[in-house]
């Protein structure tokens, strides 16, 4: 019954009817649509057809005998042997196309069928939700590398433009990235010297003033007195206090008054200062104890320690006569 129906319905008109009748019986689904096949076939119908085609390979084998052309069954057997049967309608269409072309029929048909296979594979994987080989796709892609400065500029642009709208942000990002790349850079401009001590700049300012006379000083004082407005707010008051010295400077520097340029070994190894003393005797013993105590003292500067030792030297020299009596 199916064979006769398939042979009669090998027309484009029958194809439309076949599609409508598709979901009814699985055997009817296998009948091919020749020629003018609709491209937009619903996925549901296609799924059903695929399932039916997978389960019923015997029907496919039957189609071999149906076709009048000899090239088709060979193509179908090849497809079935590969394991994943193609949509028989497409197979039929491919065979017809191959026959219509003037060239070698077998070759064209095999190529067309191979293409169909690939299409089917991709659609099936997408339907199943399986992993399309992303690795193959990504491995071919190369990483675009940015310079760290550009990246930093872009990141800063991202952070600064977070609050704006999306559309505006994208436009501004592009323009700002371009402007940052071309115009600005991090190392241009005057340094504020907030976290590092400003060393060179105040020296330049001092060099210009040579020898200010008393009149100059008075004039400067007058100008300062006139221009010094009372502070408008708390910030200006704090600035004034910092200038006067009432308020400390922030970030707090623990070594404001101290300028100890000496290294640690100059603090600890003080034996070289003991050259003026006799090498034996109670005085030497006493001085070694003094040096031991000084080396452990973190509060005195090297100068103060040296002064300490020198005072003792002077003292003992004054008392030399007394010591010699003993």
């Amino acid at each position: 019954k199916d064979k006769s129906a398939s042979s009669e319905d090998s027309t484009p008109e029958g194809a439309a009817k076949r599609q409508e009748d598709g979901p009814e019986t699985p055997k009817q689904q296998l009948l091919d649509i020749i020629g003018g096949m609709k491209v937009e076939v619903s996925y549901r119908k296609k799924l059903q057809r695929l399932k039916a085609s997978e389960s019923k390979k015997q029907a496919m084998n039957k189609l071999e005998g149906l076709d009048s052309e000899g090239s088709v069954p060979q193509g179908i057997t090849e497809d079935t042997q590969r394991g994943k049967p193609l949509n028989p309608e497409l197979v039929k269409a491919a065979s017809l196309v191959a026959s219509s072309l003037p060239r070698n029929k077998k070759q064209t048909e095999s190529e067309l069928l191979a293409q169909l296979r690939r299409h089917e594979e991709t659609t099936d994987t997408q339907k199943k939700g399986g992993t399309i080989n992303i690795r193959n796709v990504i491995s071919e892609m190369t990483i675009k590398r940015q310079s760290p400065a550009q990246r930093a500029a872009r990141i800063s642009g991202h952070i600064s433009l977070q609050l704006e709208e999306d559309g505006q942000r994208r436009r501004r990002e592009r323009s700002s990235a371009q402007s940052m790349d071309s115009k600005r850079s991090l190392k241009v401009g005057k340094r504020l010297n907030i976290f590092t001590k400003a060393s060179a700049e105040p020296e330049h300012a001092l060099k210009t003033v040579s020898s200010p006379t008393i009149w100059d000083l008075e004039f400067a004082k007058e100008v300062a007195a006139v221009t010094a407005q009372p502070p408008r707010n708390g910030f200006e008051e704090m600035i004034q206090w910092t200038k006067e010295g009432i308020l400390w400077e922030f970030p707090i520097d623990n070594e404001v008054g101290m300028e100890d340029d000496a290294e640690f070994y100059e603090h600890i190894f003080l034996e070289k200062h003991l050259e003026g003393f006799p090498k034996e005797g109670p005085i030497r013993h006493f001085m070694e104890l003094v040096i031991c105590g000084l080396s452990k003292n973190p509060y005195l500067s090297v100068k103060q320690k040296v002064e300490h030792i020198e005072w003792f030297q002077k003292y003992f020299e004054e008392k030399k006569e007394l010591l010699q009596e003993i």
Binding site: A225, K243, E244, G245, I246, W248, V256, G257, M258, P282, I283, H285, F286, L289, V290, H308, W311, F312, Y315, K319, L322, L323, E325, I326
Partner: protein, 128 residues
């Protein structure tokens, strides 16, 4: 006395005034006793190092005793106001010698007065 307190604070902090502050400075101490105390403090600061060194010779078991006796005589010869023992921690505002809290340098009456008027930062009436 406020100026003296300021001076002490500056010395302790070791900050340098970059420019003279055109402010009202109190030029009188509360009383003469306070002034004498200020003088004693200044002298003690000057002679601190010498006293320390001479005492190091005196309080010693290594050096000969004759040397230590000489050192005794020397330290006694120093001016009387140079010893730190004569300093009295008086109240900074009223020069009261007794009842002075060391942290605030104020006598108990002044401290209580300021604390009740909420002019002492972080000080609260105790209640438990």
């Amino acid at each position: 006395m406020a100026a003296a307190a300021l001076c002490w604070a500056l010395r302790a902090a070791r900050q340098v005034l970059p420019s003279p502050c055109p402010r009202q400075v109190r030029s009188y101490y509360v009383d003469w006793r306070m002034l004498r105390d200020v003088k004693r403090r200044k002298m003690a600061y000057e002679y601190a190092d010498e006293r320390l060194r001479i005492n190091a010779i005196r309080k010693n078991s290594i050096l000969p005793k004759e040397l230590q006796e000489v050192a005794d005589k020397e330290i006694a010869a120093l001016p009387r106001d140079s010893c730190p023992v004569r300093i009295r921690n008086r109240c900074v505002l009223t020069s009261r010698p007794r009842g002075v809290k060391r942290r605030w340098r104020l006598s108990r009456i002044v401290f209580r007065h300021f604390a009740d008027h909420a002019q002492m930062s972080g000080v609260q009436r105790a209640m438990w």
